[in-house]
Amino acid sequence: MKKVSNITEVIKLLDENGIRSDGRRLDEMRKIKIEVGVLKNADGSAYIEMGNNKIIVGVYGPKEVRPKHLAIPYKSLIRCRYEMMPFSVSDRKSPSPSRREIELSKAIREALEPAIFTEEFPRTMIEIFIEVLEADGGTRTASINAASVALADAGIPLRDLVTAIAIGKIDGKLALDINGIEDQYGDGDMPIAMMPQLGYVTLFQADGIFTSEEIEKAFEMAKKAIWNIYEIQKKALKSKYLQIVKEVDINE
């Protein structure tokens, strides 16, 4: 117990000027870079860099369901696998799926499923594979951002892109897009995923203690950030496809 208190004393999450350990303000996001269509063999793919997070997502489908008994007669089956590479964290992570990974796979799947027109593809399945190459807090939100772009890249009909961001609580104050240290030593973590155009919330988790006012404030903060990320997602998708359309025009 003593050791932990020493660490929190050494690591100052927030200084007197309201600047965080990595030099950001409380309402500042990390830099985001999204690339679309990075994998040749997958139907759709995306790569995201969100601060130090590096995540690659591949999407397959719609395709025949195996094993057959899992097929749903009125809609498509969504399968999602979130996996962290052994080198993604400072200690080697065992490559076997941990409790956390299995749970996050489910959470991400449930965040993406409302956006997909699953009823258009009965008796088929859509597979989403998320590989975390480097993790630094907020991998689930970064994964959702990349996965929705990869789904769009695969040509799967979507209601909207799903965009996510985490709000944390450090030293009693709300902070946008928390990183690894803030997640570990902070007071709370609240990932939120939304379909920004439709205004639907598809993921809302919270870990730590938040008052109702804080939740409302956090939600407003998240909404603002989500629109920013949505623009980046849109830009990434359009930049790839505008190029293709131009190439087709030249060939015509």
């Binding site: 009965p122 040509g155 799967i156 009909p157 209601r159 997602q233 025009d249």
Partner: protein
């Protein structure tokens, strides 16, 4: 015609419902017409229709696709076929799609039994007549469609074409099949 070659992403607002009729790859949410997929907008101002055209095709087989499949079981009058390849789009499926072939769709002439047209384990060249999702309905009507590769059920040797029948050179036996002009062992 409207402004073409404008790329839109899923969920992007294209128009208000009063402006256009929603057609392919768009959907209506409350007051707006939104895009379902990534593609280019197509506005038909004469018919007042709006649609989004795909840039990337889905890998699902479609009606009128020419496919290669393996006969996995025959239960007269239906045979079950695994689609392994789409010829016109050059797509291989390692995870094959399910389809079925009814005796009605074998030939324009009368077919007494499916066993006269195909055999278990045969590779057939067929086209999809119905179904937007698995299982697809196949047809082998036409000269180019039918069995393209078959083995002898007794000795498992590849059968050779002899006239309108298939022949096993070892067993000296003939087998009835609906043979495609693409049958490759002459």
């Amino acid at each position: 015609m409207g402004k073409d070659k404008e790329v839109v992403v899923p969920g992007e607002k294209l128009a208000v419902i009063e402006e256009y009729l929603p057609r392919e790859n768009v959907y209506v949410n409350v007051d707006f017409i939104l895009s379902k997929i990534i593609g280019t907008i197509f506005r038909d101002n004469e018919k007042k229709e709006i649609s989004v055209r795909r840039i990337k095709e889905l890998s699902l087989p479609k009606v009128r696709d020419i496919i290669y499949g393996v006969v996995t079981s025959i239960r007269d009058p239906i045979a079950y076929v695994d689609i392994i390849y789409i010829e016109n789009r050059n797509k291989i499926f390692l995870n094959p799609f399910d389809s079925f072939l009814h005796a009605n769709n074998v030939s324009s002439m009368y077919v007494r039994s499916l066993y006269d047209a195909i055999g278990y384990g045969d590779i057939i060249r067929a086209y999809i007549v119905d179904g937007y999702n698995p299982p697809y309905e196949l047809s082998i009507k036409g000269r180019e469609f039918g069995v393209v590769y078959a083995r002898c059920p007794l000795c498992m040797r590849p059968l050779r074409r002899k006239g309108y029948e298939l022949f096993c050179s070892k067993c000296r036996k003939k087998f009835k099949r609906k043979i495609s002009t693409y049958y490759f062992l002459k």
